[in-house]
Symmetry: C2
Subunit: 307 residues, 2 copies
């Protein structure tokens, strides 16, 4: 119905960050790769099983520090349906460990088809007498280029099942301005899209003032972050681009409201590959991930006023 | 490298149409549902197997009439990783039958992540000494909201492996105008996106004059179809919205060039559910699909000049 469930976890853990689980087989330490690849042969199935093992061990080490994970669908699809099974298992395991799960799928389509995506990722499908959650995430990232028709089916599920969505508003990449910065009657497209988020969310505002419709705004654009925070008072931000993409913690300040709420900052590779950067024993990869999420939490919270 | 492979099939079959395989379990005739659901129980796996059987029988009946299928990823994801396995199997089977396969995924993301999607759907992943195609489609629909960063990784694979993409330009749904019709310096966003397609495709133009970068333009907007055909001479159109969504064949004329090329028109539900509309025995569902694709081909080609 809103992002209250997530915001409560953020407050409880004093940590407005989310770990992106975007695993490539190359990130998985060799001792895990070997365990699966030697047993099953070098297949999509073996790679997917190795990746699940990697994810699971990271989740075990971070679940008491970080409120949420954000698995990126692309990296699972890359290993075919076996990879997608690992996505399902990762979501299920993280939820079992009490984490909030945002599937980063940037899905978009027209009405009936968007309903299928909404059902897949946030809802449940009825087969005979059974009702089954195919993926069961708590929130999904989506692309709003198709307008309200593509968002309505999601809102329905958000209301019914207490889920949320994050709509792409101002993305963190270099070429995001090619379209998103263009002006419509003097207003950049990203702000127009942001206004649409406020409208889509207006009847799902929770007790912290934020609706079930959030926005993706990149850490690499601190000025737009600050501008959009003021413009979109009920829209929670999912902020990628911290760390590996070059967005610093100080530039993130503007994404938060006066209570240190209103945003959740993502880091993916810096956490998954912390062991490579540290140069520690690969068997310590999960501990290195833990050290990195603590460092990140302390870095970001040093700039905001989260009580 | 371009859409030549698809265009050749269109010319050979004298048929510029594609069948959207967007199956819901409800579309599958009961005799097939029973066969799988009774064996495996009412599970995502059983539903997915029933859907594959349905798809396969339709492909068998239409593969000598229709050059391409367009499976919509959402309907497969709705059945979890089992559904995604059915997507893989459907693609593989259609290719075995000589069909061109456009995966309708409307994927989008920034550089490295888009590379993962491109690898998943159009490319191959290397695991140890094996190179494996996870999905192996010929083309993918994508969303260009993120600009060039999100398209470049696809272009690379298009060039290397003779694949194509269709970028959302003017979608067929009612609310598509909320963003897409807004003006940037007097030019609607859909035309700006169309111009980007021309630019992205400029070094992949094939012998029929069309590049590897196509555009999705809805049959429900005949005026924009005609306008964009003139504006984007090297951009092939994928046209949804014929039939069930209300776009008629006459309005499609403007999507085609003077040789009857430059567009491929999609129909999904009208083909898959032809047996329901006809009211014939459900065991004749594939024959009814065949009758519908022949009717559609004749309807559309009666308005264009395809030699």
């Amino acid at each position: 119905m809103s992002f209250d469930r997530l915001i409560e976890k953020i407050i409880e853990m004093k940590n407005p960050t989310v770990v992106g689980l975007d695993p490539r087989l190359e990130y998985v330490p060799e001792f895990i790769q070997k365990r699966y690849l030697d047993d099953d042969g070098w297949s999509l199935k073996a790679a997917s099983r190795a990746i699940f093992s990697f994810n699971k061990l990271i989740i075990d080490e971070i679940c008491d520090i970080v409120p949420a994970i954000k698995p990126q669908a692309a990296y699972y699809e890359m290993y075919g349906h076996h990879g997608v099974k690992t996505l399902e298992r990762t979501i299920r395991y993280a939820k079992l460990k009490g984490m909030y799960v945002i599937t980063d799928g940037k899905r978009n389509d027209i009405g009936a088809t968007m309903e299928a995506y909404a059902t897949a990722h946030l809802g449940s499908v009825v087969i005979g007498e059974n009702e089954i959650e195919p993926f069961g995430a708590d929130a999904l990232t989506v692309n709003g280029y198709l307008g309200t028709d593509g968002i309505e089916p999601l809102l329905k599920i958000c209301r019914e099942r207490d889920k949320g969505i994050y709509v792409l508003v101002k993305t963190s990449n270099k070429s995001s301005g090619e379209l998103q910065d263009k002006l419509i009657d003097g207003t950049p497209i990203y702000a127009v899209m942001g206004d649409m988020c406020e409208k889509w969310g207006e009847d799902t505002i929770g007790k912290y003032g934020y609706s079930a419709v959030g926005a993706v705004v990149g850490a690499t654009y601190p000025q737009q972050l600050t501008e959009l925070r003021k413009r979109l008072p009920h829209t929670m931000f999912l902020v990628p681009g911290y760390g590996a993409q070059g967005g610093g913690a100080e530039g993130l300040k503007g994404a938060f409201d006066e209570n240190g709420l209103g945003a959740i900052v993502n880091s993916s590779r810096a956490v998954m590959c912390a062991y490579q950067k540290e140069g520690c024993d690969e068997r310590d990869f999960a501990k290195a991930a833990r050290r990195e999420v603590i460092r990140m939490r302390d870095d970001i919270t040093s700039y905001i006023n989260l009580k």
